[in-house]
Structures are given as structure tokens and as C-alpha cells.
Homo-oligomer: 147 residues x 2
Amino acid sequence: MPKTLPDFDLEHYLPYRFTVLAARLSAELAKSYKNDFGISMPEWRVLLNVGYSENPSIRDIERRVSLEKSKVSRAAAKLEAKGFITKQTDNSDRRLLKLALTKQGAELLSALIPIARSFQAQLDEILGAHEGELQHALDLLTEKLDD
Amino acid sequence: MPKTLPDFDLEHYLPYRFTVLAARLSAELAKSYKNDFGISMPEWRVLLNVGYSENPSIRDIERRVSLEKSKVSRAAAKLEAKGFITKQTDNSDRRLLKLALTKQGAELLSALIPIARSFQAQLDEILGAHEGELQHALDLLTEKLDD
DNA sequence: TTGACTTCGTTGCATATGAAACAAATAGTG
DNA sequence: CACTATTTGTTTCATATGCAACGAAGTCAA
């Protein structure tokens, strides 16, 4: 390690920490979703949004989930091909799509949610009383980044 | 939103929050690193590790940074091609590589570090007194995931 | 109405990625 | 020693990704 390098505290560098943590947390879930349900991470995220929003458009999801619109578009196409969602053009603005869950999509989501919840419960347990502060700190960062 | 779906609090679902935050935080940095220095995110992470560890191997970096070994291998190959690091086989175990910064690599890193630091400083400012708790919560999660 | 401009979703293309296969080196076992 | 198993880094291959370009729809102003 050359003496000429400036000091740097990698262990507390937040972009790095978030990236590593996000990758690890998602890894297990992604594997389970892929293997057990044949669904990718972007598809899961889109499915979730279709389930818990009122007929969102591709753009709505893009904004809410911070997913590239091409990614959303492709995920939606796959979900439609698998029969989990429907795409319908919005009559008040025919550029927009209205995405909706099919019955099968609702069933899939109902099967996936408990997995996500139990995972969250594990995290809650690890964090204990610190969870509130963590969520608050995340709120602060998210808020600033929205500007 | 069909009534049949179970409740789910997406806003506080940590895997989701971390993923979104990590993507957003990295996005700006990645763009700057790419445009101004022609270096990708994996390359930056590898460079950082080569700079701040003692001749790490590909495997060392893989473990430390939670990067796929093929990703590390490719990033290292590119950094070598650009003249920022050297690869040298370890004589005590000839399967291993010993990565090291070149002079140019050290210069590049010295230019990149201040950018990372000022970014971190901005985050510190946003978080204020909450930063300590955030780092602690991240410690807790990281610790458990290492098992 | 026309024509310039914007927005939305899709797609083409070059690159990035993950998983598995691989060769080389080492470790372990009889 | 010989033989198998494991580890390390690279590479192959199919897929995923990001970005720019595109057509279609809508907006706006003259």
C-alpha cells in the first residue's frame, strides 16, 4: 500500500455499504423467486407494483421503483406472456398502458408476499430497537435524493 | 387492487429500500467515473481494493467486496490493460494472483478518492446526528449476513 | 389546421452479467 | 508415492442490461 494514497474509510463509505448489503439481501430472495417461481427480480418488483397500485402505467412504475423504463417494459412483457398481468391502453391517454393483475398474478403475488414478510421479520429481529432509526435515516436519504 | 392480496408495507421493506438507495447513490458516481475517468463501477471497486489491501488476489476481492469472481477477473483484466494495476502470480501458491497498483493506478485512485469523500461528506450532512445509528444498524445486518 | 415539440412504451444494438465448464495448481488420502 | 478432490482464475455461452432511436399519441401555439 503506497504511502502516497489519501486516507479513505471504505468500511463506512455509504454508497459501498448500501450496494453490498442490497446485493446480499436480494441474492437469496432472487434465487428463491427464480427457482421456485420462475420469476426474476425486475418481474417481482413490477408485479408488486401492479398489485399494490391502481392500474399503474410503465412510467408510473419506472418512477416509483427507480427501474429503467426499458427494464419495466421488458419485465411487464414477460409477466404478460406468463399470464400474470394484463396490458390495456388507457382511453383517456392512449399513450399510457394500464397494467392489472390477472387472477393467476394475484395468486402468485399472494404466494410471494409471505416470503418477503418473513424475510423482513428476520431483519426486524436482527435490528431490534435500532430498526426505527434505520428507517428514519433511510427516509432522510431518500427524501434528499428525490429533489 | 384486489381485496384478496395480503397486506404488505413496501415502503419499509428493507431489501427494496436498500436496492433503490444503492442504485440511486451509485448512479451519479458511476456516471462521473465513467465519463470523466473511463472506469466502470466494478473497476472502481477493484481498484479501491487493490489500493487499500496488501496485494490482494482475485478471490480476496471477491470475498471482501461481494463481487462475483468472474466480475472481479474481468475488471482486473481491464484495469491491467489500461495500465492501472499489475497481475503477478504468487510464488507461495501459484494459483493465486497478487494484484498491485501501478504508478498510474495510484494517481487515478488519488484523483477518485476526493470525489468519493466529498460525496460521503454530503451524505454526512444530510444524516447529521443520525449517521452513527445508521452505521450501527448496517453493522448489525452485515455481521449477521456474514454467517 | 398545421407543424414543432414532448411524452410514452418498445426495440435494436453493443456491452455487461451470472453460471457453468475448464485448465492449472494445490491439498488430502490411501 | 499415486489418485482423487478442491481451489483459483479465466473463458464460454446464453441472457440481461442501458442507452439511443423509433413510432404513436398528445400538447401547444400560431
